[in-house]
């Protein structure tokens, strides 16, 4: 009977393609919006992802993320280094600044000060320049996306000078890293240079980056740092979540994306529900004849579920493919740099779409189940 069910479904071309379109569109809408949302949220933690060497971030107890910082006292570094289980600890600075572009415009930037001795905090992928160049006077490295904003028509930036917070900054290279949530341009410089670039109060160190000693659990060490220093210490994974949560709770982004996702579900249910109900109604006499001939209600339900499953598989496949195509097609653009389609989203959308179609199918089949076989004689 599954074969008959599929022939009934695919033979009615208009409704068949209507159902496939409905599911594909719904999948695309939900998948694309959920992917954009997830990637935007992950951008909140881009600064944490960029620092792979450190597995513990130490900060002021009131700090909420890489973009919501408070300065630590200058003694913080030594206090963290003094905690048993800490292999090493280095200072890290993240502050906002403004740069004057060659065209004279002002651009808001994020200044990241990495450890002077080890350059811990500098992303590993350089597309121009050498790590040693950062030891030159007033040297900065620019992220690739920010570079295109400041020097839109330039291929290379090394040797060019900028005015960063009214101070001379020398571009010595470019760093390939994903942009953060707030700043469009990121400058990497040594911690000591960063203190010069960023005006402010006596205390300007925003984070201490640390690594747990071999064999020690970073969560245990983070708890030990908190207990001994009174600062907030988070493992890398926990700090990623903190950053995402901060953006999620302090902006209307989840609500707006949520509305679109709900809209996708509503559109899917509406199109599929209506079309499927029409399809069943158009075939009511045929289903009635099948019941009279000797197909049980269970057999009818199995037929409709087969039809639902087929629509879901084809529609979801098409929609997921279009979502992947969208992400792939836009990944070259700066505003979508680093965006990817997480498997979890595909699985989640699949569960949602399949449940939606199956429930719609079961809803539509009610009229067949209510139909008396004798009705075909009337």
């Amino acid at each position: 009977m599954p074969w008959i069910a599929l022939r009934m479904l695919t033979g009615d071309r208009v409704k068949y393609f209507g159902l496939i379109f409905g599911i594909a569109f719904s999948t695309l809408l939900i998948g694309q919006q959920a992917t954009l949302f997830t990637n935007l949220m992950l951008r909140a933690a881009a600064g944490v992802f960029a620092v792979s060497e450190a597995d513990i971030w130490v900060m002021d107890p009131k700090a909420q993320g890489t973009d919501a910082t408070l300065a630590l006292p200058s003694t913080a570094l030594d206090r963290v280094r003094g905690v048993p289980g800490v292999l090493w600890a280095v200072p890290h600075l993240r502050e906002a600044g403004s740069v004057r572009t060659p065209e004279g415009a002002l651009e808001r930037v994020s200044v990241v000060g990495v450890d002077d001795a080890t350059l811990v905090g500098l992303p590993p992928n350089l597309v121009e320049g050498d790590r040693q160049d950062l030891f030159r006077r007033d040297a900065i490295m620019v992220d690739t996306v920010g570079f295109r904003k400041i020097f839109p028509n330039s291929r290379n930036g090394a040797g060019r000078e900028l005015e960063l917070n009214d101070r001379r900054a020398l571009v010595v290279g470019r760093v390939d890293t994903n942009p953060g949530f707030t700043a469009g341009v990121i400058f990497f410089t040594r911690y000591s240079s960063a203190l010069n670039f960023v005006p402010g109060t006596r205390n300007r160190m925003t984070f201490v980056l640390a690594r747990a000693a071999d064999g020690r659990d970073s969560a245990d060490v983070a708890r030990a740092i908190e207990a001994q220093t009174g600062f907030k210490a988070r493992t890398r994974e926990d700090f990623v979540i903190d950053n995402v949560r901060f953006i999620a709770t302090s902006t209307g982004i989840p609500f707006n994306f949520g509305i679109t996702v709900v809209l996708g579900i509503v559109v899917g249910v509406a199109i599929v529900g209506l079309t499927f109900t029409l399809f069943i109604r158009d075939n009511l006499r045929q289903f009635g004849a099948l019941k009279a001939i000797g197909v049980t209600n269970g057999g009818i339900i199995a037929m409709v579920l087969t039809q639902s499953l087929w629509i879901a598989v084809v529609g979801f496949g098409l929609g997921a493919g279009l979502t992947a195509l969208f992400i792939w097609g836009t990944s070259g653009a700066d505003q979508f740099k680093g965006f990817f389609l997480p498997a979890e989203i595909l699985i989640g959308v699949a569960v949602l779409v399949f449940s939606m179609v199956m429930l719609t199918g079961l809803f539509a089949v009610r009229s067949v189940l209510k139909l008396e076989p004798a009705d075909v004689f009337r």
Partner: protein, 244 residues
């Protein structure tokens, strides 16, 4: 004479309270194997209700229906559905073919429902169509066939699983006189056998001459039972049936 169907005291009504209408008022009769039996009567006489009850698709309010030794309405759950699938072939007034299946595939539906492999079922469907003179049409969709051809596909579907009872509801109602007569002659030639009973509901008096037995129903009761149609239904010559 071997009895295929024995019904005893069958009653059936529809509606409730003041709207209650008693359609069958205690019908009892026996129908034999190897005979073409007609149930005739005016619209509303109860013949469709009776054939539905005999075919196991409408429960009676009272009485028993015994098909080939089985009291069918005592069968539990899906056993009645399976009994129908194994023993009864249906021909509907409006054919009720699946529009997206070919003629051979439509004819094969009862076999597929019974679990026969698709290829074998379709081959057997095509064989029955061949016997009904539609061998060349077996790959066509219903919309590519005339009304008479569609009804022959429906007859093939009713016969493909070799049922012991074939019930037909106004099989000529949607056909012109010539097509209707051809369909009935085919039904008589192909469907009728010593191991099978064929029961036809009709009020098309053009085809009465083909019946072995005609049972007349009026107001929910059997009012005629014989080899010929009741007098008043024979009068006036052939007339086209009402289109239902």
């Amino acid at each position: 004479m071997t009895v295929a169907i024995a019904i005893e005291g069958v009653r059936r009504s529809f509606g409730e309270g003041d709207m209650r209408v008693e359609v069958l008022r205690g019908i009892s009769t026996e129908i034999e194997l190897g005979k073409l039996t007609y149930l005739v009567g005016e619209s509303g006489s109860g013949k469709t209700t009776l054939i539905s009850i005999i075919a196991g698709i409408l429960f009676p309010d009272a009485g028993t229906v015994n098909l080939f030794g089985t009291d069918i309405y005592t069968l539990p759950g899906n056993d009645l559905v399976r009994f129908r699938l194994a023993n009864i072939g249906f021909v509907f007034q409006q054919y009720n073919l699946l529009p997206t299946l070919t003629a051979a595939e439509n004819a094969a539906v009862p076999l597929i429902a019974a679990g026969v492999k698709r290829r074998e079922a379709v081959e057997r469907g095509a064989t029955v169509l061949e016997r009904l003179g539609l061998g060349m049409m077996s790959h066509r969709l219903p919309r590519q066939l005339s009304g008479g051809q569609q009804q022959r596909v429906a007859i093939a579907r009713a016969l493909v699983h070799a049922p012991r009872l074939v019930v037909c509801d106004e099989p000529t109602a949607a056909l012109d006189a010539a097509s209707g007569m051809r369909v009935m002659e085919l039904l008589r030639d192909v469907a009728l056998s010593p191991e099978r009973a064929v029961l036809i509901v009709t009020h098309d008096n053009r085809i009465f001459s083909l019946a072995d037995r005609i049972i007349g129903i009026e107001d929910g009761r059997i009012t005629h039972d014989g080899a010929h149609a009741p007098e008043h239904q024979r009068e006036g010559g052939a007339h086209a049936p009402e289109q239902c």
